[in-house]
């Protein structure tokens, strides 16, 4: 035992320091080799034999106290002192001698080191290798987990997965094969080629580049200075305008406006003298301004301000005045044309359907000043006649003639001035029409730009003109009544007019209606206003000034008032008749239906059916009487009543029917086996509650119940494959991973823990599944 332990300790020594290794098992052989003498050997053998007898220590060597003969050069024997020889034993003598310091160090180092374990056997190594490789691989595969999950849960998968990638061909390549075919393309290409517009890198054309290069420094500076000045001026003007705009004084603004209007008028007059065409244009603008005003709701009592004033008007005098002012303004602004439009619709609309519109408009404008409709009508008819010639002068002459004929009693001065104006206007217009075509476009644009300013001035001007015409109108109105021959001239016209004037809103204002009810109602209710007025005029020729007053009043009343007034008595006449008709229709139809379904009384049938169902549902009594039991039986013999009563098993009364109080319904509570064959009995797997399942069934997916788009969405197939296309296995590139498999490994090595956690989770999930 001791020998083996010594041996092992020596072995460690040998491994590290490469000392001579001789097993301790052969000490005797070594001694034998020396061979001193025969006797001694024999003695030795004898000793051996004796010692081996006890079987414990076969190789016990004789102990001796003096220097041994068996000292060997190959071995260190530990016999004598102790059983074991340790490294420390060897080190002790070294300590004293300083020359052996290096050996001592080496030995110390050896002492500190541990022994290396035995290498594993081959199979174990292979197993470990496999395990490591498997872990690595499965981690690398785990990157597919999200994709697999996504694909499994996808609503729709479209194969093949890889999309045809749109190749980005350079523009030059594309242009090489492309040719301009359509005229538009050719035109564009021509333009581009002319300017040598670069197609591929659209920065600057050669011309632009040249221009850039050509501009010298001084020029550029001058240009810049100019621009600066312009900008500064603009800013001054802007600032000034803003300042003026901010002035709150109404008086100031009024003065400014007035000044502007005055100036405009003056300018207009001068213009009339100097340049009639330009003046005409101005005039047209005025017309336009009026038109705009008419179209806009600016003074129509409908704005916020006006509404608020309307509320206040009851209590506040000022508000009332302001409102009235506004109304007056509106009236002023729209006055002229309103008069015109009335006459136009009344006269021109009825008789001259075939008339060209522009002519009518012209005439209307011309005659706008004169308010006599009769004259107007005639004049337009005249125009009709003369349409072929279209001679302005002749026309004006005839006009003048007509005017003079019809309005003999007008104040001569006003008449003359008006006529003159009209003539001028007319002639000017004819000329300007010629001129307008040849006019440069730019000038008109310029005019448009500042037209906004001019408009306001023109408005003021037109108001003034209106006033003038107004003054002239008054006498005209007075003359209206005193022209009986003219009226009698056109009886046919008056007969025709009612058809048009039947619309109550159009013809009558409230006042007119009152008058109607007062006076003209007895005879002909549908007389036109004009006629009425004329009647009035005839009736009381002494209050002549009244008539124009009324006219004016009618003009003052706003459109809203007109709309809110009820159309009189139309309904009361027409409604009953139509109602009667409807009633008749209905009754007729009912009759028809009755005839058609004469045979079947549905309701009675249903009631009968229900009664039967109720009867069928009732629990039946069971009769257990046996005829002929205990008494005579036979044909015509009945068991006696007592027996019958005794053996009749009364059925218990069932629960009340659910349709007891529902007269129109039969509820059948029995299970219908025919329908049961078509019903699901067990809740299908993925559903946890029958409500879920029912809901999926109850939402229809057909196009009968869904819009086309919804239908398409609902019926989209889960997997779409293109016929004739090869579906390749999913690739790294398809899902955005890097393709090389080596990179996966490196990635795994970089984040081993993170992935392993995920992997574990996945595996757990799999195991659960």
């Amino acid at each position: 035992m001791s020998a083996t332990s010594a041996n092992s300790s020596l072995l460690t020594l040998n491994q590290s320091e490469e000392l001579v290794d001789l097993p301790k098992d052969y000490p005797l052989s070594a001694s034998e080799d020396e061979g001193d003498g025969d006797g001694e050997r024999k003695h030795q053998k004898l000793l051996e034999a004796i010692s081996s007898l006890d079987g414990k220590n076969r190789w016990k060597v004789a102990e001796r106290s003096e220097a041994s003969l068996k000292v060997s050069e190959f071995n260190v024997s530990s016999e004598g002192t102790r059983e074991k020889l340790g490294l420390s034993d060897l080190l002790q003598p070294i300590k004293t001698s300083p020359s052996l310091a290096t050996v001592k160090k080496q030995l110390n180092r050896v002492k500190s080191k541990k022994t290396v374990e035995l290498p594993l056997n081959k199979e174990e190594v292979a197993r470990i290798h496999r395990e490591v490789a498997f872990n690595k691989t499965s981690q690398a595969l785990s990157k597919w987990d999200p994709i697999v999950v996504k694909n499994r849960n996808a609503e729709q998968l479209v194969f093949p997965l890889e999309k045809e990638q749109a190749a980005f061909a350079p523009l030059e390549h594309m242009l090489g094969g492309w040719k301009a075919r359509t005229p538009l393309e050719q035109e564009i290409f021509n333009v581009l080629n002319k300017n040598k517009q670069p197609v591929t890198d659209p920065l600057l054309t050669p011309v632009e580049k040249a221009a850039l290069r050509a501009m010298s420094l001084e020029e550029a500076k001058m240009r810049r200075a100019e621009l600066q000045r312009a900008r500064a001026l603009q800013s001054y003007y802007e600032a000034k305008a803003r300042r003026e705009k901010k002035i709150k004084s109404k008086k100031y603004h009024k003065i400014v406006k007035k000044g502007k209007a005055k100036k405009a008028l003056k300018d207009f007059e001068t213009l009339q003298k100097v340049n009639p065409t330009a003046a005409l244009e101005e005039l047209e603008k005025m017309e336009k301004a009026r038109m705009l005003e008419r179209m806009s709701l600016k003074h129509q009592n409908s704005g916020k301000w006006a509404k608020s004033k309307a509320i206040m008007a009851k209590y506040d005098l000022e508000a009332r005045q302001a409102m009235q002012e506004q109304l007056a303004k509106n009236k002023e602004l729209t006055q002229k044309l309103q008069a015109v439009s009335e006459s136009e619709e009344e006269e021109g609309g009825v008789e001259e359907d075939g008339l060209l519109i522009p002519d009518v408009v012209n005439e209307v404008q011309v005659n706008a000043n004169g308010s006599n409709p009769w004259m107007l009508r005639r004049c337009t008819s005249d125009v009709n006649e003369m349409k072929i010639q279209k001679d302005p002068e002749q026309l004006s002459k005839s006009m003048a003639y007509e005017d003079s004929e019809s309005e003999e009693e007008k104040s001569p001065v006003a008449e003359e001035t008006l006529l003159r104006e009209i003539e001028k206007k007319r002639s000017l217009r004819e000329r300007s029409k010629l001129n307008q075509d040849s006019k440069p476009v730019g000038s008109q644009e310029a005019q448009d730009a500042n037209s906004q300013e001019v408009l306001s001035e023109l408005r003021a001007l037109s108001q003034k003109l209106n006033k003038k015409t107004h003054q002239t109108q008054k006498p005209k109105g007075s003359s209206l009544g005193t022209a009986p021959p003219v009226q009698t001239e056109e009886p046919s016209l008056e007969e025709e007019e009612p058809l048009l004037l039947q619309k109550p809103q159009r013809a009558t204002t409230l006042e007119d209606l009152e008058e109607l009810s007062k006076e003209g109602h007895s005879g002909n209710t549908e007389l036109p206003r004009r006629a009425k007025q004329e009647q009035q005029a005839e009736k009381k020729p002494d209050d002549q000034p009244d008539a124009p007053k009324k006219n004016r009043k009618s003009q003052m009343i706003s459109l809203q008032n007109l709309l809110t007034t009820k159309p009189p008595s139309v309904k009361s006449l027409a409604a009953p008749t139509t109602m009667e008709l409807e009633d008749e229709d209905e009754s007729y139809q009912k009759q028809m239906i009755k005839e058609a379904f004469a045979g079947d009384d549905v309701i009675r049938d249903f009631l009968k059916e229900k009664r039967e169902a109720v009867e069928a549902c009732k629990p039946k009594d069971v009769d257990l009487t046996l005829p002929g039991w205990g008494e005579w039986g036979g044909v015509g013999l009945q068991p006696n009543a007592k027996k019958r009563r005794r053996f009749l098993m009364k059925a218990p009364e069932g629960p009340p029917r659910k349709d007891q109080n529902l007269p129109n319904v039969i509820i059948n509570e029995k299970r219908n086996i025919h329908t049961a064959a078509h019903q699901v009995h067990v809740l299908p797997y993925p559903f946890t509650h029958h409500h879920q399942f029912e809901r999926t069934i109850q939402t229809p997916i057909g196009s009968t119940w869904n819009t086309q788009r919804a239908f398409q969405k609902l019926t989209a197939p889960k997997v779409i494959t293109k016929p004739g296309h090869i579906i390749k296995p999913i690739k790294n590139e398809d899902v955005g991973y890097r393709s090389s498999s080596r990179s996966d490994l490196s990635m795994v090595q970089r984040h081993p823990t993170q992935l392993s956690i995920r992997h574990k989770k996945q595996l757990k999930k799999h195991s659960v599944n």
Binding site: R130, F134, T137, A140, W144, I697, I701, H766
Partner: protein, 445 residues
């Protein structure tokens, strides 16, 4: 005064061309279309019936081989081209559109054990019982040229399976061990073994292309990593696995066709429990191939039928058989996922539709919409007993039918016995083992 007028936009009722359908305004008010559930139910019922009426999956039979068809291969670039190897060493290349053989060659002495195409489709490899691996050109020899392989490798042992790498010029064979070959060399660049048994099939993973799966006759499935040149893991099943197939859309999923009539879908990271056990066959499953969409696979069985399984269902959705079709040895799903080919013992290759009632050819958009609608209706009402009954109804040959009944009885008997045993022994001593775990003997690391 403003006059309001009725105005209609002609765009709303005038069609652009004569060919357009008349625009019919519809009112989707639900009160006008009552009884939506019963109406849709009837539609679904009709759709299901029609599906059964139109279920005519068999398309064509390609005959010409003079012995049983042992292996099939798809062309990676051309849908119309199919390669087949027979038990007499003959290899034929077929054109599916013409349904004709376009080339025939005597490739090997004895069986053609395996055939695979190169990923680019320019050549293909065959292995046979004569211990050779041969590489052939895909195009036929020009006039006057002899039909000769591009390259022939003489091996020491018989090779039983071959598969080509999906991206590189590397292929793998199996026999005594799994060998990885470079196309340019005549000796394998690496050989991998684990135990000593003949390996019947080896398959490259189509996504993580360095992975290989193989199955050996000592009932195990072994996975290899080509990069590290080591096997990864081994799972031992009840019975021998005939072949494996990787899912082309899910990198870690493969399905094994087993002799115990079942197919097992595994997640390769957790081999101790299969993800799904697919059972319906009544005899050994000989081959399996995934649809390129990765949603379904087709299996060929010794019971003279092929079945289509959804990946996540344990029961098949379809079974194909004909009177004349014998033991089906190999099966392939075409790359456009529309057709299935199977080669069987009686020397024919058959072409089937993957969806039995699908209408082939170009569909108008209305037809397509109607099909989609019908499909959704069938899905929606699939739990209804009548619809379920009609949809599930299949005609089976008597042999299969009776075997199914028989096996049902056997299974029930086994179950009963187990229950009885559990009843009569100490509680917990006979544990309940799930169907998934039952067939796994061990997983060896």
């Amino acid at each position: 005064m403003k006059v309001k007028m009725l105005s209609r936009n002609p765009d709303n009722y005038v069609r652009e061309t004569k060919l357009d359908i008349q625009r019919v305004p519809r009112n989707y008010d639900p009160t006008l279309h009552p009884f939506e559930v019963p109406r849709e139910y009837v539609r679904a019922l009709n759709a299901t019936k029609l599906e059964r009426v139109f279920a005519k999956p068999f398309l064509a039979s390609l005959d010409g081989h003079r012995d049983g068809v042992n292996c099939l291969a798809k062309h990676p670039k051309s849908l119309a081209t199919v390669l087949s190897g027979a038990c007499d060493g003959e290899v034929k290349i077929w054109n599916l559109t013409k349904r004709k053989c376009i080339r025939t060659m005597q490739a090997h002495e004895g069986f053609v054990r395996g055939i695979c195409t190169r990923f680019c489709g320019s050549s293909f490899f065959t292995i046979g019982d004569d211990k050779t691996v041969k590489q052939w050109k895909m195009d036929g020899p020009s006039y006057g040229e002899e039909e000769e392989p591009l390259q022939t490798i003489l091996g020491k042992t018989v090779y039983t399976g071959i598969d080509h790498h999906w991206k590189e010029a590397v292929f793998a064979t199996c026999g005594q061990q799994v060998d990885i070959w470079d196309e340019q060399r005549t000796s394998p660049i690496c050989s991998m073994t684990w135990g000593f048994d003949s390996i019947s099939s080896v398959k490259f993973n189509p996504i993580e292309t360095f992975l290989l799966g193989s199955c050996a006759s000592d009932r195990n499935i072994v996975l290899y990593d080509m990069r590290q040149a080591t096997p990864l893991k081994k799972v031992i099943l009840d019975m021998r696995t005939n072949t494996v197939c990787w899912n082309p859309m899910e990198a870690f999923v493969f399905t094994a066709a087993n002799e115990d009539y079942n197919l097992y879908t595994f997640d390769m990271r957790a081999l101790d429990t299969p993800v799904m056990v697919h059972m319906d066959h009544v005899s050994a499953v000989l081959d399996v191939d995934y649809s390129p969409t990765g949603k379904e696979f087709v299996s060929a069985s010794f019971d003279k039928s092929i079945r289509i399984f959804p990946v996540n269902k344990s029961r098949s959705r379809e079974v194909y058989h004909t009177k004349r079709m014998q033991h089906v040895i190999c099966v392939k799903w075409t790359s456009d996922s529309k057709y299935i080919m199977c080669g069987s013992d009686e020397m024919n290759i058959r072409l089937w539709k993957a969806n039995a009632s699908e209408k082939l050819g170009v569909l108008t958009s209305r037809e397509k919409a109607a099909m989609d609608y019908n499909q959704k209706l069938k899905e929606k009402f699939k739990h209804y007993p009548q619809i379920k009954r009609i949809a599930r109804h299949r005609h089976l040959p008597k042999s299969i039918y009776s075997q199914i009944l028989e096996q049902r009885v056997m299974k029930e008997a086994r179950r009963r016995k187990e229950v009885n045993r559990r009843k009569h022994s100490k509680p917990g001593s006979v544990p309940i083992v799930s169907e998934k775990k039952k067939h796994i003997v061990a997983v060896v690391k």
